[in-house]
């Protein structure tokens, strides 16, 4: 049951929410009508039916997109999405973080194997951005771990549901804010869509990919949005009724929609930053998160 909900949310909810953002946020700010809400699905299905061009044939390139999507889905199975995660007993936040990393690694590998200067540059940017952003996620999760006394993500979510947001726990608030600040980059949105940067390096690591490979990566990106937003929603934003159907699913959906819309809104009112500027920004965010962690260690 939870398997179906988590997978379904990641696989179908991701593109759908992206479609909502494109139509409701992006097009609205652009003063235009915008594509249909299910446009991402059209895009994905179309890509799946396209020819698959191989410029540097290799097994790595062939399987990297599948592994990337699978890793994100596996991470989704570890993420509390309103309910107890189906794989909760098999992996904790560190396993989760590593699956997220695997997905990033696959993008990097795809870029490296493509060997085009643009893809190499994109891969380099992905590594740098990942190095700058991942600590934020880790620190924020550690804050929650300290508060809940467990590294299991559903323990953290449960703690959050029980204790909620309170002025007595500023560390959690800071953690949530830091994670929100980092979310933009983790979701590959402007001002941090530096990795793909269509107008600079033409899709970066994805430049040489076409057809199903591209579709799988795109799908993984959509699913990643849900996973990250779920982490933020379940662990740092309270208002839920614990692990019970169906209201907490609804509440969770509402929360991630709000988060993704917010991210989309930031996306449309900013230009892309350079990778060094982004790294400088994230070192700032890391420091903020560390302050949160110190507070958590001090017991607040």
């Amino acid at each position: 049951m939870t398997f179906v909900i988590n997978l379904g949310l990641a696989l179908l909810g991701g593109p759908l929410l992206a479609g909502v953002v494109r139509k409701m946020v992006k097009a609205r700010v652009h003063s235009r009508q915008g594509p249909p809400i299910i446009q991402p699905f059209y895009d994905l299905f179309k890509l799946l039916g396209k020819e698959d061009l191989e410029s540097s044939p290799s097994l790595v390139l062939r399987y990297a997109p599948m592994v990337a999507l699978a890793a994100i889905l596996a991470a989704a199975l570890l993420t509390p999405m309103g309910l107890r995660p189906p794989l909760g007993g098999y992996g904790d936040m560190i396993v989760f973080a590593y699956f997220i990393t695997i997905a990033a690694v696959m993008i990097i590998l795809a870029g490296l194997v493509s060997a085009s200067p643009y893809s190499m540059m994109g891969a380099g940017r992905e590594i740098m951005l990942h190095l700058a952003v991942e600590p934020v996620l880790i620190i924020c999760l550690v804050i929650a771990a300290i508060k809940s006394g467990s590294l299991l993500m559903w323990d953290m979510a449960a703690w959050n549901y029980v204790h909620g947001l309170s002025i007595n726990t500023p560390s959690m608030i800071i953690g949530g804010v830091a994670l929100l600040l980092a979310l933009q980059a983790q979701l590959g949105k402007i001002p941090f869509d530096i990795v793909e940067a269509e107008t600079e390096i033409m899709g970066g690591p994805l430049i040489e990919l076409s057809g199903p490979k591209l579709a799988l990566f795109e799908w993984a990106f959509f699913a990643r949005q849900i996973v990250y937003a779920s982490v933020l929603a379940a662990i740092f934003i309270p208002w839920g009724t614990g692990f019970a159907l169906p209201w907490n699913i609804a509440a969770h959906l509402l929360k991630i929609t709000v988060i993704i819309v917010l991210v989309g809104l930031i996306d449309v009112v900013n230009p892309r930053l350079r990778v060094d500027q982004a790294m400088a920004y994230f070192f700032g965010v890391i420091v903020v998160a560390l302050v949160g962690m110190v507070l958590a260690l001090l017991g607040t």
Binding site: Q39, G49, E51, L53, E198, I207, L209
Partner: protein, 165 residues
């Protein structure tokens, strides 16, 4: 079943790679104009992409100049099938005002198999949208070749049947 779904999705999501093969910029600007709020081609799932690998449609603007021919061929080769080629503007359709210049090879169909033509100098954004609509099957083409003949005994002209060659 899924295969069919994928094929049906193709016209609903046309990713466009726009290439200028020697144009004056007029058509290029109108192509971008089509994406902007008043015309919003994204309604039809059309968006510009940065890599030809991601593209479904090649928008060709301008007369094909001599220097650009090899690059254009490589570009066509870099687009995954199924693909459409749309020639935009009089230059890409027929070579334009410089059709016979020493450095101009001709219209886009001199080099590529072109699927749709959108004449105009530059075509209005509406004309481009109309071309897209024709390509998507949303509209019918509205022109055809004209063959008129003045008859000596009759004051009005009549269309003549001409075998299409």
């Amino acid at each position: 079943m899924f295969k069919e779904l994928c094929q049906k999705s193709f016209p609903k999501s046309l990713w466009v790679y726009h290439c200028n093969v020697g144009a004056c910029n007029g058509c290029d600007i109108e192509v971008i104009d089509v994406l902007t709020p008043y015309y919003d081609a994204e309604r039809f799932g059309i968006k510009l992409v940065g890599s030809p690998r991601h593209a479904d449609v090649l928008l060709v603007c301008g007369p094909v100049t001599r220097q650009v021919v090899p690059a254009l061929k490589r570009l066509y080769d870099a687009v995954p099938a199924p693909k459409l080629v749309i020639a935009i503007g009089s230059c890409a359709v027929g070579g334009g005002i410089w059709f016979d210049s020493y450095n101009v090879v001709g219209g886009a169909d001199t080099i590529l198999p072109v699927d749709y033509y959108i004449p105009g100098c530059p075509p209005r954004p509406e004309a481009i949208l109309h071309g897209v609509a024709v390509a998507l099957g949303l509209a019918e083409k509205e022109i055809e070749s004209v063959h008129l003949k003045q008859l000596p005994d009759r004051p009005e002209s009549v269309p003549v049947e001409v075998e299409s060659s």
